[in-house]
Assembly symmetry: D5
Homo-oligomer: 147 residues x 10
Amino acid sequence: MIANRTHVTDMILAAKVRKGLKWAQVAEAVGQSKEWTTAACLGQMTFSKQQAETVGALFDLSDEAIAWLQIVPHKGVAGIPTDPLLYRLYEIVSVYGGSIKELIHEEFGDGIMSAIDFSLDIQREKDPKGDRVQMVMSGKFLPYKRY
Amino acid sequence: MIANRTHVTDMILAAKVRKGLKWAQVAEAVGQSKEWTTAACLGQMTFSKQQAETVGALFDLSDEAIAWLQIVPHKGVAGIPTDPLLYRLYEIVSVYGGSIKELIHEEFGDGIMSAIDFSLDIQREKDPKGDRVQMVMSGKFLPYKRY
Amino acid sequence: MIANRTHVTDMILAAKVRKGLKWAQVAEAVGQSKEWTTAACLGQMTFSKQQAETVGALFDLSDEAIAWLQIVPHKGVAGIPTDPLLYRLYEIVSVYGGSIKELIHEEFGDGIMSAIDFSLDIQREKDPKGDRVQMVMSGKFLPYKRY
Amino acid sequence: MIANRTHVTDMILAAKVRKGLKWAQVAEAVGQSKEWTTAACLGQMTFSKQQAETVGALFDLSDEAIAWLQIVPHKGVAGIPTDPLLYRLYEIVSVYGGSIKELIHEEFGDGIMSAIDFSLDIQREKDPKGDRVQMVMSGKFLPYKRY
Amino acid sequence: MIANRTHVTDMILAAKVRKGLKWAQVAEAVGQSKEWTTAACLGQMTFSKQQAETVGALFDLSDEAIAWLQIVPHKGVAGIPTDPLLYRLYEIVSVYGGSIKELIHEEFGDGIMSAIDFSLDIQREKDPKGDRVQMVMSGKFLPYKRY
Amino acid sequence: MIANRTHVTDMILAAKVRKGLKWAQVAEAVGQSKEWTTAACLGQMTFSKQQAETVGALFDLSDEAIAWLQIVPHKGVAGIPTDPLLYRLYEIVSVYGGSIKELIHEEFGDGIMSAIDFSLDIQREKDPKGDRVQMVMSGKFLPYKRY
Amino acid sequence: MIANRTHVTDMILAAKVRKGLKWAQVAEAVGQSKEWTTAACLGQMTFSKQQAETVGALFDLSDEAIAWLQIVPHKGVAGIPTDPLLYRLYEIVSVYGGSIKELIHEEFGDGIMSAIDFSLDIQREKDPKGDRVQMVMSGKFLPYKRY
Amino acid sequence: MIANRTHVTDMILAAKVRKGLKWAQVAEAVGQSKEWTTAACLGQMTFSKQQAETVGALFDLSDEAIAWLQIVPHKGVAGIPTDPLLYRLYEIVSVYGGSIKELIHEEFGDGIMSAIDFSLDIQREKDPKGDRVQMVMSGKFLPYKRY
Amino acid sequence: MIANRTHVTDMILAAKVRKGLKWAQVAEAVGQSKEWTTAACLGQMTFSKQQAETVGALFDLSDEAIAWLQIVPHKGVAGIPTDPLLYRLYEIVSVYGGSIKELIHEEFGDGIMSAIDFSLDIQREKDPKGDRVQMVMSGKFLPYKRY
Amino acid sequence: MIANRTHVTDMILAAKVRKGLKWAQVAEAVGQSKEWTTAACLGQMTFSKQQAETVGALFDLSDEAIAWLQIVPHKGVAGIPTDPLLYRLYEIVSVYGGSIKELIHEEFGDGIMSAIDFSLDIQREKDPKGDRVQMVMSGKFLPYKRY
């Protein structure tokens, strides 16, 4: 009995290690970006029926698991991360958050950058002093409704 | 007596409202990007002597306050933010963090994206369905030392 | 020196008690709903210049305070509320949250109800067994972007 | 051995995915609103004997599980939610809570909106700019006893 | 400027120590029980105009403070108490809470004991082995609405 | 292997649902009040050998489980409860705690109400406006030792 | 205006540093042990009228402060201490707590060691390998009431 | 497979209940005090090879479990205890901690009482007004190094 | 099915106890320092293919477990440690952290000591007054980028 | 009135910025290492009378402040640091803590590295790939007492 999506994520991760698959390969098979596809495999996005079947075939999942991939998951991870790579992302929010807030309000007025109508793109940025990680975030600006 | 940088940040914010200055104007006077300059004014970065004097002149700060602007501040804000704009940034880490970790490791191996040798650029992205906020983050990849 | 909006909220609350004003009167003067106007007076929304001057006149605020009313505030209150009226709102999220999530996804698919493009209306609901509080929330459905 | 209601909720969720049932269908069979029925299936409300048997038949539950559906459950979910849909509900309490408190007290005096003598109704609100989620909450006003 | 009720509570506590008043005397003057009156003086209940004036006269409060006594306060104290007397109350909930829940549901079905339509009475209970504190709590049973 | 009392509590709760027993019946068989007996069954009190055997017979427990019923358990439940019935008890401490402290000290001086030499009695209080839950707590007053 | 005991504790600590008094001298003047007297000066115990006047004379306190010394204080310090000396005390509870519980129950049955009918004695224990701190705690055993 | 000491502690506790052993008997067999032996059995201290074999024989442990008894365990229990007996120990630190710190520093200067070079002795203290628990703690004073 | 690295760490720890291996032996076989090797075995670093196979042979791991040793793990342990040895490390950060920050900034300016381009060396330091633990940390200084 | 050491630390920090002093200069005047002296100035160590007078002269402190410098302070900073430099220290404990524990126990047996009989030395380590921060910690090994 599978009672939540986390169990399916565990199956995917175990199969990925066993089979030596790359996220980029999965993304190509699914037909979406590597960022969205990875998030969906990790239980943060919802697959269509066809995508779920593709993912199921790649990772040898049962029909029950494939059905769960099409259910909207419970998203997000609680708390402040301890993993150093993840913590650096949190630290950027902690150190730069106030400045980002000031600059978005200066440009757009009161509102937010959507985290739903949002996309993310991660690339290697060649640099002679050492390559860099480039992350481009794009989210729709949503103004606060005045009523 | 000024015993910490926070007090100077309060002075800057109060003066900014009274004088109606824009962060972009401050950045131009300081000679750095608007992102770095705003972070420094909010007490997250350290000004050089000349920059501190420029900032002091713009915001009518005392000599003691200008001296504090050149002291390395205690950085970061604790906890999970409640402000909706800031929370969305945290939520991106919460929802996409695992995927970012997977994709950086797939591309670069074990290591992190630096939050110190790091830059940030925020722009308006024109879009007929509603303008978007584009945030470009660039951080040096640092491989874990094996010894 | 006023260094944050909280100080202005304190001024408004103190003046409201001294003068015996009602939020409905403030809302009428401001020209918005009582829900939005109260939220703005409590430091959760941003007033236009004209609205800020109206509010300033009603509550005898200084020019500096009126300037702060037009600055986008740092919003939200941290933690789980202890006040019984506020706790009941939190409890509704705690008890019904999972069901709300299931029903919105069943109707709309993966996405959220916006808390930004959002309005709230609070009314007395006459009832012979004891009057009731009716709260109507209306938020735009935002589907998760697939990319 | 079933030692708590959570285990029965897991059985219901697993069966729902396997069988492709909708909450609206369950509600119709049970004879209550979709909001109450979903909350009860998720372990937040108590079924009558007849309702429990109906639910048991729909989800292929054992007699022991059906008996647990009639036991008053331990309700509520701890903490601040991380799921974006759920967080938006919490954010509404965080941003608007103070205003709701002010307006209910202005209208009714000291007391609370009951979360027990309470009902919830969720509907799609058609809108040319994008459909909206409408949530209507109705709770009895309970005045504080003075004694 | 008085910006919240806590400030008035501080004034009352300081005056009480200076003047050597007893809560029972205050209650008699106010015309309510000692339990309700003490709670109201500590900023947990709302006084009527006449009661507020009586309290103001007893504790030499300003008109502004008397006005605040008639405003519905922000109630409750956060967290788990450290004071030993208060902690014992919390411990009773921690040790006996589950049993109280079981026994109320066994007697009344699904619902709660109201903490709003509620009264409290504290008395000395003479006992040759050492006097006891007797606390009688009486709260209306509120059944969960089924809809 | 049974390594803690919690496991025995789970067995009791599962058997209680299967067999449809009432706490009052268990209390009668055990020969103590329903409040103490329920607390003991839920793993908060220690049974005598004879009581443990009675409980074991009622709930079909193994000899190992019956032995555990005679071991002093690890008591108390951590944190602030989320269940609405339990939360109301916590809320009474949060709202009335300060007043209870004041009134006990006014009557008895410095000390506490014991939560160990303590008894609890829960009764239905008939009331034409809706029946009430009456809880009577009686705890020995313990004065602080001065040495 | 003095609104709580903490303020008086601050006065005592400031005066103690200025005047170079020792706790042992204060205890002698007060006529109680150094452990009780220090706890009382730090706002954890209640002085009698005569003791309060003695303390007031030693530390040059105002009449208002002396009155506060006779009021039962809000006791205890929240959380887990960071000071190394205090943390070691907490660590003893963390490391040895379970064993203390086992041994007291083995000797006395179900109940607790009182922290109210309790005394503490701290002495230097001469030791050629380095002197030791000896702390003797003595608390009345309170058996759990069975009713 | 045994992957941590906690599992061995569970085995010991289960065997102790089954066999009706006393900690004092275990201590005698091990040849240490009852306080150290109990702590070691509960996974807070490290047994020598011979002691581990004695303990293993008493509690019928496997060779793998006996090997784990000789591994330095991960010590301490997190957080603030809820069990009333344990909480009283924490409360003594909370109420008396500041005084203990003052008195140790007055006698010894800057430093701490060691919790490592430390012993504990628990005894019944006969008393006509009710027997008492006496706990004697002895820890080496460690002065802060000045360098 | 192995779904995360923690499971492999458990296998290594269990095998280490069974086989009586020393970390120094493992390090020698792996060809790295004992500090890095231990960290990698505990799931904090990533092994190369050859190293993973060596470790697998030493600890009798399955091929699936060996594959997991080459996957970048989720690093770090949450919270403040309770184990006394670990707590002392945290305490050094708590007591000396501010001073370390001051001295690094005084020597290097604004920036950090890297915890990624970092190495650690632990040695016994012979001392007639009792041997000492010497820990040498070496991390690259990373200056904050100004842009 | 100065009621705690924190206030004196603030005075020192404010004077240090005004006067442009370096910690190394202060250490030389005090006659201790820069690490101990900085910690003492930041309120974590206790100055002797002569040292306190030297520090008082350097920073223009009042006699009352100089007296406080000789009082053992309340040490340590609570929680997990947000400042990036400080967080890296915490991260080292989080990532390497388990390994440090294993290696110290392998070398020394059960016990800890003292954080009291402890010294710290921070130096610039020249490196062509970028200079490094070298931190040498030396703490006495304290074996757990067996009794």
